[in-house]
Amino acid sequence: MKRLSSKQRTRLVSLHQREIKKQKRLANLEYQRAIKLRKEIAKHHAFYDLRAARSDFKRKLYKETYDKPPLRINIAGNFGIEEPAFADYFLDIASSFMQSASKELTFNFTKVTRIWPSGITLLCSLKKWVEISARHKKSPLLASTSSEHQEVNAYLDHCGFYDFVNRPKDNEPSSYPNEEIVRIEREKKKGNIEKREKEIMSLLIKYSALSETELKWFDRVILTEVFANATEHGKPKGDQGWWILAQRHKTHKFISLCIADNGIGIRNSLTTGPQQKQLGIDDSPLNDGEFIKLALEGNVSGALDAPKIMGPIRRRYEAGSRRGNGLLRIKTRCAQLGIPLTILSHNGFIFMDGKGIIIKYGAKENRVFAGTLINLIIRAR
């Protein structure tokens, strides 16, 4: 082996030291990058945890097996929440089938004398629920008999129910006027919202007893916020996951407006959000009524991020507060316009009168609605 000269040795050492420095610098850079990455991960950790929790939750929620014996549901008389006298009956019936795991569900409408928009919206929600929750090719069979009362069958066709659930029609002659209804439909396009809002407003301008200014308030606050909620929470599958039905009731002098979605419900929306620990209510379906009440008081929402702590000139709000005031806005304006408001969300329900006073709220052992329904009763001329 050839011996290196001292000059060569010095050069070699210098090269070696330079290499070591370079390695150290790279290692340091790598280390800084790792630290930065770790900080980023820590920063978003809670966010992704919440997202994962919500995804897990949805997976569990929507996997239903329909393998129990057939079930026949008998409905009689008036079916709907529009008239307070029939609300308890409606809730009892709804909770008897909404979570049924039967492979065949038959609705016996023979003795039904009147079916209100809320009743139709409920039955459509079952159809939607089955579509999104059943395992592949394991959907239960849904069927219904006709009513003894011809006008009930005619109305089910007229309001769009048969088309929505894809049931053969009875072809009863109908005398219901087309201009008094905004029919229930499969909302296939996101862009339908504006069209549907206009249809509802046309109905209200024509028949409601609200003044021009009151109609503006209704349109801008109530309708816009209800639509925003439904479209935000609806789970698209086959359609956009929300549906509406509005009907003028000439004899009763009101317009019933139902806007519904097939989402995870108010409680699940709140408890999978960042403020779950601050709510102070047990996460149980039996507390669904409490959660709806809480949402109506405002300052809570199912949004995934918590607001930041602000500087001295900025407003200070705790995480989970000052958020999601949509339902509070709806409640406040309804009370100002004298509109009774009802919300059904999974097991829970709340009924408010035209002054915004709670008539009753609570929860049933079983679900009373697949997602969330908002029903408004607007006085008509």
């Binding site: 996101k190 504006e194 349109d219 816009t224 639509f227 925003a228 479209t231 995934l304 991020d305 930041k308």
Partner: protein, 111 residues
């Protein structure tokens, strides 16, 4: 700066973000398009030119939109200052109240 909102942006101001409604023409996009220069504490610390929004071609504005588009700036400034820098003309009384109520009540961060 004078902006004809209905023509230059959209007549229906309803969606807070892309998750609401059809997600189009939402308040986040509106803020970025017209008010991004205000998304900065420096802007609010010094004198600056105001922006005027003309609502003559606007059909309606919803509270959620107003919150995300305008009340957002309550994180930098007091409502009074915001109202002096963001002005509205040819606006209905209802729409004006909606915007002012949102600015007065503060921003609902729902990112």
């Amino acid at each position: 700066m004078h902006i004809d909102v209905g023509k230059d942006f959209y007549p229906r101001l309803a969606n807070r973000d892309r998750r609401q409604g059809d997600g189009k023409h939402n308040a986040g996009q509106f803020r970025v398009k017209y008010l991004s220069h205000m998304d900065n504490p420096e802007f609010w610390a010094h004198d600056a030119e105001s922006v005027t929004f003309d609502f003559k071609n606007v059909d309606k504005i919803g509270p959620s939109f107003a919150n995300e588009a305008f009340a957002y700036f309550t994180k930098y400034a007091e409502p009074k200052l915001i109202k002096s820098r963001i002005k509205f003309v040819n606006i209905s009384e209802v729409d004006r109240i909606i915007i002012e109520e949102e600015i007065d009540s503060g921003y609902c961060d729902r990112k």
